[in-house]
């Protein structure tokens, strides 16, 4: 009876207990809404109210305090990020992650007047491809100039992967000054990287083609197609890359990827990764394996070890051939003279990164979950002992993998690229895991950290699909640590949706502590390009000008402009059908305010901003003639046009320069021709 009663009641009791539980869970959930997480107090009523209102967790408050740069104060570091196929360079402050500037490089950029004046057009036109001016570029890897392996803050180089071009930016005014086109290659990827004293700017190839990209069918791939690495001689005194002394080295038709220059103990060598040592030629449409499979068949590809000092000597000794009038050290000479060695590396790697002291090479094989660490000392010994495991089809000696190996460490899926800090840690991006791994270096670095050498310490998730990473001065001989930025290719849900083209996501990570203390601090949307690589320099190493050194300055050539116009010397001269205008700009007027020409005239127009106050920039817009100039204080520039037809045009200042900015205007009066 009792049992029966009990059995009868039990569903009710069960329901009551369940109800009680639901009510309890609901009320406790309600109570925890907004304050369920541990609260944080800053001891200030206003601040605590903001923390409560915005539902900030202690981690959020920590991140805010770490990244907020108070109004009017400056950042500690400056990042130079490539813009990918925007063809520009982005300048970003750290830790605020504020965008400071976009530098026009391979792509015309009207705000800076980049590509609209005679002088800037000449820079872009100096690197034509097959006689055609390219209107875009694919900037990949910015490289700051170095002195003794450390950033010196003077110049920035960047490659254009699409057209195998290298640009040079002068960091006195953050403007592009020079673009060189590689005569023997159509595309590049392993650039720009510099040797420790910026003796050379390195430009590694990418997709093999006959050197000079003359025609050869894909059936002749192994015989006719070639890879290359080019060393552009940098003349520090002239501040220019110079053709005299520049040369390339012929390489087998593997697809060379990223490069890095040796430093300190490995100074004098260049290291370049490669993939497609299979020499796949694609053909998915013919039922052949597509490149993505064909180029991933072998377990190992080849790390290229290149003795650049010896190569330069051989070129100086006349051992180079000339292709398209550019010196190229032939592959057989490079092999015979011991300029080139191969070292097997886990397949399809991306980054080869040299530790600060130059002792180890870190290979991130993107299809292998390990980072592979080679010892430079062991490599040198293997070369000296001729400890080879064979040679490739082109006779290049292949060093024994085991003889050169220092360690292999499993970090996770899709390792791509590694940077270093001041505490003996390395940081490797993991594309597939979408995380950044912190792991320990061994050897002399062991004393800097408490963990065992060559061990994984922490993996921090990033959002999402990280490509490269950058740590503060993290690829120099003296990394600073402190900050790391993860260059994420996808942002997916991290920002407000702005249409199907999502911004990239730069995530700032605090790496100032030891052990597993890495913390995510900040997401920065990059809505103006697709950065590939970034370098981060201490802000006080940059000595940028606030205004040009004197009124009448030609920024492209960094000297006094031959047609600088001083205030009071404005004039319009006619010589036959050519009209030459000498104009000044100052707040808030152009002088002259009317320019009279005739249809059919050729006009040469010089303008000088005669101001010298910081930030007193004027624009000069001439609608219908596709002209927009940026005239920074002291800047002088020239443009030319042919007067197409009669009409009335207004030129105006396109930069909001002053309270009477709208009045800064003039009439360009084109009378009917004779």
């Amino acid at each position: 009876m009792l049992r029966k009663t009990h059995r009868r009641i039990s569903p009710w009791a069960g329901a009551a207990i369940l109800l009680l539980f639901v009510v309890f869970a609901w009320t406790s959930a309600c109570r925890s809404g907004g304050q369920g997480q541990p609260t944080v107090s800053l001891g200030s009523g206003d601040a605590d109210r903001v923390i409560a209102d915005r539902e900030l967790s202690p981690d959020d408050v920590f991140a805010a305090l770490k990244t907020y740069v108070p109004t009017g104060r400056h950042d500690d570091y400056v990042m130079f990020a490539s813009g990918g196929h925007s063809g520009q360079i982005l300048v970003i402050g750290v830790p605020s992650m504020r965008l400071l500037k976009v530098i026009g490089v391979f792509t015309p950029e009207p705000w800076q007047g980049w590509g609209y004046s005679d002088e800037t057009r000449a820079v872009l036109a100096s690197a034509k491809v097959e006689g055609v001016e390219m209107k875009w570029g694919d900037t990949h890897h910015p490289a700051l100039s170095e002195t003794a392996g450390d950033y010196d803050g003077q110049f920035l180089f960047v490659n254009d992967k699409a057209h195998a071009r290298i640009a040079r930016i002068d960091l006195r005014d953050f403007e592009t000054k020079q673009v060189v086109k590689n005569p023997i290659a159509l595309s590049d990827h392993g650039g720009a990287f510099v040797t420790p004293d910026t003796e050379y700017v390195i430009e590694g190839g990418q997709y093999a083609a006959p050197l000079g990209w003359s025609y050869a069918s894909l059936e002749q791939y192994a015989e006719e197609y070639r890879g290359m690495v080019t060393l552009w001689k940098f003349d520090r005194e002239a501040g220019e890359m110079v053709e005299d002394g520049s040369f390339a080295i012929e390489l087998p038709p593997y697809w060379q990827d990223l490069c890095d220059a040796g430093k300190r103990v490995s100074d004098g060598w260049i290291f370049c990764n490669s993939f497609n040592t299979e020499m796949a030629t694609g053909g998915i449409e013919d039922g052949k394996p597509p490149f993505e499979a064909g180029a991933s068949q072998r377990d190992m590809d080849y790390l290229h070890l290149i003795d650049w000092r010896k190569a330069a000597q051989l070129v100086a000794d006349g051992r180079a051939q000339r292709i398209k009038d550019f010196p190229v050290l032939p592959l057989d000479v490079a092999v015979e003279e011991g300029v080139l060695y191969f070292l097997p590396e886990p397949k399809s790697p991306h980054g080869v990164d040299v530790t600060p002291g130059g002792e180890y090479l870190v290979i991130a094989g993107k299809l292998d979950p390990h980072v592979t660490i080679f010892s430079w000392e062991k490599i040198q010994r293997a070369i000296a002992d001729r400890n080879f495991s064979g040679e490739d089809a082109y006779g290049v000696p292949i060093l024994s993998f085991d003889a050169a190996l220092e360690s292999q460490l499993e970090v996770g899926l899709g390792p791509l690229h590694t940077q270093f800090d001041d505490k003996g840690y390395a940081y490797t991006s993991l594309f597939l895991d979408t995380a950044v791994a912190r792991w320990t270096l061994g050897g002399a670095y062991s004393s800097l950290h408490e963990e065992a050498p060559w061990t994984l310490v922490q993996k921090i998730p990033v959002h999402y699909n990280v490509g490269h990473v950058v740590a503060a001065e993290g690829d120099t001989v003296s990394p600073d640590g402190g900050y790391l930025v993860s260059l994420n290719k996808w942002s997916v849900d991290r920002f407000l949706t702005v249409g199907p083209l999502h911004p990239q996501n730069f995530q700032l990570i605090d790496i100032s502590g030891k052990g597993d203390s890495m913390r995510l601090l900040y997401d920065m949307a990059i809505g103006i390009g697709e950065p590939h690589y970034v370098q981060m320099i201490k802000a006080d190493k940059l000595q940028a000008w606030e205004v040009y050194p004197e009124v009448g300055w030609d920024p492209v050539h960094q000297r006094k402009h031959p047609n600088a116009v001083q205030a009071g010397e404005e004039r319009v001269l006619r010589k036959g059908d050519t009209v030459e205008v000498f104009m000044t700009a100052a707040r808030s007027h152009f002088v002259p305010e009317k320019v009279e020409v005739k249809a059919g005239d050729h006009v040469v127009w010089h303008i000088t901003n005669v101001e010298s106050a910081k930030d007193a920039t004027h624009g000069f817009a001439l609608p219908a003639y596709d002209i927009n100039l940026s005239l920074e204080p002291g800047e002088s520039t020239t443009f030319e046009l042919d007067v197409r037809k009669s009409g009335v045009y207004t030129y105006y200042c396109s930069e909001f320069c002053s309270a009477l900015h709208l009045e800064m205007v003039g009439y360009f009066l084109a009378a009917p021709g004779a």
Partner: protein
């Protein structure tokens, strides 16, 4: 000493006077000499500073007025002044700037002259040096007033900026600018020189007056 020369230069103390009141005769010479040194040194130093403070110029705009030139952000200030129709600062006091170095050197020579003249005429020689700082400030006021009240009526901002005279020393306001005018090291030295000249003249009178009276009595 011939009588005419004594009339001109004043009496010379006798060897006995000199021996007895050496300090009395030395004092005016030293004080006036120091005054001359200060005055001549002031030639190399700015006499007047004006700082123009506005939000868009962190640190402000500065002009330093030397006796013969203007330094600092003159170009930028001229650029701004064209909006209110003020003439370029370089057009102000051009005669004064041309003559000033020569004039101050002359003032110094005159004070040196006063050391050697032992009668009332010494006062007239030292007087220009004595009043020079006041003359400088008066002239500065004249030009500030001249420039501030003769604005081009066709200038863009002529309707919103009324004619004005910035204070010669102290704080004034024009448009979004606060003007802070302060004396320069040169003016301070010239003022010290002026005070020393005053003291020197008093010491001079104390030392030589008995001799002058004695000379007058002898006549």
């Amino acid at each position: 000493m011939p009588a005419w020369m004594e009339r001109l230069l004043g009496p010379r103390p006798s060897a006995e006077d000199l021996a007895r009141h050496r300090a009395d005769f030395l004092a005016p010479t030293l004080v006036l000499a120091v005054a001359v040194v200060l005055l001549l040194t002031s030639i190399f130093l700015p006499y007047w500073h004006i700082l123009l403070k506005a939000p868009q110029y962190p640190g402000g705009l500065r002009v330093e007025a030397y006796l013969n030139r203007l330094e600092g952000d003159v170009k930028e200030i001229d650029g701004l002044n064209h909006y209110i129709g003020m003439r370029p600062l370089g057009e102000a006091a051009s005669l004064e700037r041309t003559l000033s170095i020569f004039a101050v050197a002359t003032l110094g020579l005159l004070v040196i002259g006063a050391i050697f003249i032992h009668n009332r005429k010494a006062l007239w020689l030292a007087l220009p040096g004595l009043v020079f700082p006041a003359v400088f400030l008066g002239d500065l006021y004249f030009w500030l007033r001249n420039f501030g009240t003769n604005l081009d009526p066709r200038a863009p901002l002529s309707s919103s900026i009324k004619p004005f005279v910035p204070p010669v020393l102290g704080v004034g306001h024009v448009g979004q600018f606060a003007t802070v005018a302060t004396p320069g090291a040169g003016l301070i030295l010239a003022t010290l020189a002026s005070l020393l000249i005053l003291a020197g003249l008093w010491l001079h009178r104390r030392a030589y007056k008995p001799l002058v009276e004695e000379l007058d009595e002898r006549r």
